[in-house]
Structure formats: C-alpha cells, structure tokens
C-alpha cells in the first residue's frame, strides 16, 4: 500500500501551519503503511544560504563539533540545528557542493537526506506519529511539503529506504506502488553519472526525474517522459523548489485524491487524509486521471 500526502500552499497565511497540517494528514494515513515515515518541507530560501539535511545512526558522535569542523574545512560560516538523528546545516549557497564533499571526509557515516535552497527531509523507521514528533514536524513552516508512510515491498525497512527520496537539489519524490524495470534503469542512470544509496525502486524513479531536470526538461516534461520509461505501478508525488507534481501510471490502481481551493492544492492517498483541511467542504475534489501529469509552480 503506502500512504502519500502533499500540500502546495497558495495563501501565504497558511505557511506557518504547513508542518502541522501535513503531520495531521500523514498520521491519518498510518494504516496504509506502518514501516517508516518521512516528510519533505520546503521552508523557503534564505538569501545566499543553502541547506543540507543529514542523518546519522550515531548522532552524538557524528554531530559533535560538526559545525566547527565544517567551518574549518570550507572556511565559511556554518550553522547546525540538530533534531534527533538528523541535523540541518546552513552554509553559503555557493559552498553547498564543497560542504557535501567535506562532509563525506569529515563524517563518512553521515548520510545526506537532501540539499538545496529550501528543502529539508526527515525520515525514519517507525509510525508517522512518532517520526513527526521526533523531528517536531508540526512546528515547521513552509510553502509546500510532501509526506509518506511506507509499507515496504521492494527493499529493506531502513532509514535510507524510507521516502521521500532526494536525488537532486531541492528535489524529492515519493511513491505508492512498485516498479518492474528499476534495475535496468538504475544501470543506465549510473552510466550517466547518478549515484544511488539503496536498492530501492523509488530511488531510481527519483534519480530518473533528477536526470531529466538536469538535462534541461521542466518538471511536467520530465514526468511525461517517465510515463514512457518507467514500468510498473505508481502514483508519484514530486517536489521541486517552486513546484509540486503528481502522476499515476496508465492502469492507476494506486489510489489518489486531490483537492484544490483558492488557498491550497492538496494530495492524499485517500479522502480521509484531506477531511480536516480548511474549506474542504467547498474544495474541488477529484481523482487524478491515469497517465496524466499534473503540476503546479509558483
């Protein structure tokens, strides 16, 4: 199964509540997948600063003095906010790549969850309510976000196997379904220079979209290309710095409901996830059509 929720806010007045709204939606979807949960929040870019969200199995050891060590390595100011097993590092935007490369030497055990201007990803094994509480997601503000609760089918139940997957700057993807041609596609993407952290099928879909964006396609075109190249069952929800996209495979077995008002666009695997949103009674509610790309950009 798996459960997906997503919110793309049009009304800035809702932005302080993004984390709380997404948390409520995700917890409602718990019985679609209790293995692991994750959330991507686009918190907005700060002038000239970039963010790297990292994860460690031994945070006490890995995060100790990491900001200072990274500062020494790149010669630029670094701030670090630790949240349980994750930490968000803020560095000058033009130092993102340098900081990532320094990180891999300074703390080889640390995994990068996401990097970019705006995105932060938190994901762990466990129930949505526990994962959301651990990272205080309900307190987070932002412009758009995506949440996922996983029932694993294709690969192990691990932190890195949880969704969302981020394979490019400010990009993320979550998936309900399973792909059948991911091994072949992974080999092709590796040849093109993409790197992979897991054996997971969804990571391949994320990397596929990132590769297309890197080649200059916009999000809509990249998702259209995916309809040709990705084989299997899928409902995908995709986030970029300014955008939010949805696509279902042509068979469309995996459920999806969307709602739109003047204030937001919302996605849920089931209508249940949407029932507490403001103004849902008068929202336009529909099921995304099979093999049809939907995306919104600000």
């Amino acid at each position: 199964m798996c459960g997906i929720v997503g919110l793309f806010l049009k009304d800035p007045k809702l932005e302080p509540h993004l984390g709380a709204m997404l948390t409520d939606m995700l917890i409602t979807m718990t019985d679609r997948g209790p293995d692991s949960a994750g959330i991507a929040i686009y918190g907005g870019a700060k002038d000239g600063l970039g963010k790297i969200t990292i994860q460690s199995a031994t945070p006490e050891k890995d995060f100790k003095d990491l900001d200072g060590d990274l500062h020494d390595a790149i010669g630029q100011p670094v701030t670090m906010l630790v949240k349980s097993t994750h930490a968000v590092l803020e560095v000058p935007l033009d130092q993102l790549d340098a900081a990532r490369s320094a990180l891999s030497h300074l703390r080889p055990g640390v995994k990068v969850m996401s990097a970019g201007d705006s995105i932060e990803i938190f994901k762990e094994v466990g129930l949505p309510k526990d994962v959301a509480a651990r990272f205080e997601v309900a307190k987070m503000k932002g412009t758009h976000g995506i949440g996922h609760t996983r029932m694993a089918t294709e690969s192990a139940v691990t932190t890195m196997g949880a969704h969302p997957f981020s394979t490019g700057p400010d990009q993320c993807l979550v998936h309900n379904g399973s792909l059948s041609n991911h091994n072949g596609l992974r080999r092709e993407l590796i040849r093109k220079g993409m790197t992979f952290e897991t054996q997971n099928d969804t990571e391949v879909a994320a990397a596929y979209v990132s590769q297309k964006l890197k080649e200059g396609e916009d999000l809509g075109t990249a998702l259209e290309s995916g309809l040709e190249d990705l084989d299997g069952f899928y409902t995908f929800v995709v986030g970029t710095k300014n955008g939010f996209g949805v696509v279902r495979d042509p068979i469309a077995c995996k459920p999806a409901v969307m709602a739109e008002t003047d204030d937001y666009v919302a996605f849920g695997s089931e209508y249940r996830a949407l029932v507490n949103l403001p103004g849902i009674e008068n929202a336009r509610v529909w099921e995304p059509e099979p093999a049809t790309v939907y995306f919104w950009e600000r």
Binding site: A252, E270, E287, P290
Partner: protein
Amino acid sequence: MQTFDLGKEGLRALNSSLHALKGQTNMTAWEVINPKGAHAIAAGVDAPVDITVRGSTGYYCAGMNKQATIRIKGSAGPGVAENMMSGTVIIDGNASQYAGATGRGGLLVIKGNASSRCGVSMKGIDIVVHGSIGHMSAFMAQSGNLVVLGDAGDALGDSLYEARLFVRGSVKSLGADCIQKEMRPEHLALLADLLKRGEAADKARPEEFKRYGSARKLYNFNIDNASSY
C-alpha cells in the same frame, strides 16, 4: 430516525447496530454523520432499512448490501457497493475505482462520474452512472446492466460475458470481444425502466444510447485467439 455520529461512536458500533437489524424492524431510517472518508461504512447490511450517509466515504461503503437503501450525500471511495446482493445504493457525488464490482443484484446509482473498473466482473447488478466512467469498466462482466449517460474510457467491456452495456456518449475504445449491438424494442423498454429507477428519466431518453455486448468469441479457449487473451 436513528442518527449515528461516526466521529464519536466509531465504525464498529455503527456496523454492529446495522448488522443486528434482522428481518422487519421499526428502526427503518438511519442517518450517519461525520463519515470523514472512513472505510466500510454500512457494509454487510441485511435489512429493508433506509440509511443516509452525510458526507464522503472511504473504501467499500455499502459492500455486500442486501435489501437496504443506502444514500451517500457526498463521494464514495474505492469499491462502493462491492458484491451488492440486493437493495439500492445512490451516490450524489463521484465514485472511485471498481464501483459495484462483482455485484450480484440490486441497483447502484452514481450521480457524478465513476473512475476506472466500474462494474468489473458484475454478476447481475444494475448500475446507472449519470456522468462518465473510466477505463476497463465492465471488465469480465457476466450479467446485469450498466447504463452510462456520459462517456466511457478505454477498453470498455473487455472479455465481456452476458452483461448489457448502454452508453449515451463516446466510448474511447472497446475491449477484446466487446462489440456494438443493435438496440431492439426490449432494450429500449429495459433502458426506460433503468433510467427511471436510476433517477435519470429527465436527463436522457433511451433512444440516445448505444448498446454494447459480447461477441462471444472468447468464451472458450481457441488457439487462433491466443493474441487476444
């Protein structure tokens, strides 16, 4: 009128109360409030009662219904009225995938649109959709009638047996072994009755529909048809 607040009392209490109604009962009118997309609302009812659900429902609402009239004042999630035996289910909004799947009897009315696989493997149920239906509808449908006032998606009636399909609008494509058939007087009479019972008599006339059914070429395995299976 029995009013049941699903938000307060919970699904199991609702369905236990409804399942306890056997044969004739004085409690014939029920109202369910705060459904909030919950699953299996009023599934497995077997009594001649009238149940109104005020809002949208999740998976399998009114599944296996016998005798009851169930009205959904909202939209219905996947598998609404799945395997219905008898009675009537009326949805004011849209229905998600596989509405009325495997239904053996009764009447399912969808006043909005139905998405994919509407009436899949239907076995005697009548389904009237005021709007349009999605792809693979009436797949392997065995008997009963599917009436669509709008359009049908891809692969309508794939591997169809003896169900009758009536579509007023366009059909994106017909599935394997499904063909258009002539509309004879008995079909017009059947359709007039279904439109009336489906609360659609003022929206469409029987003459506006086309009939689709099985070409009966896939009933038995035939090596010459291997590419169609």
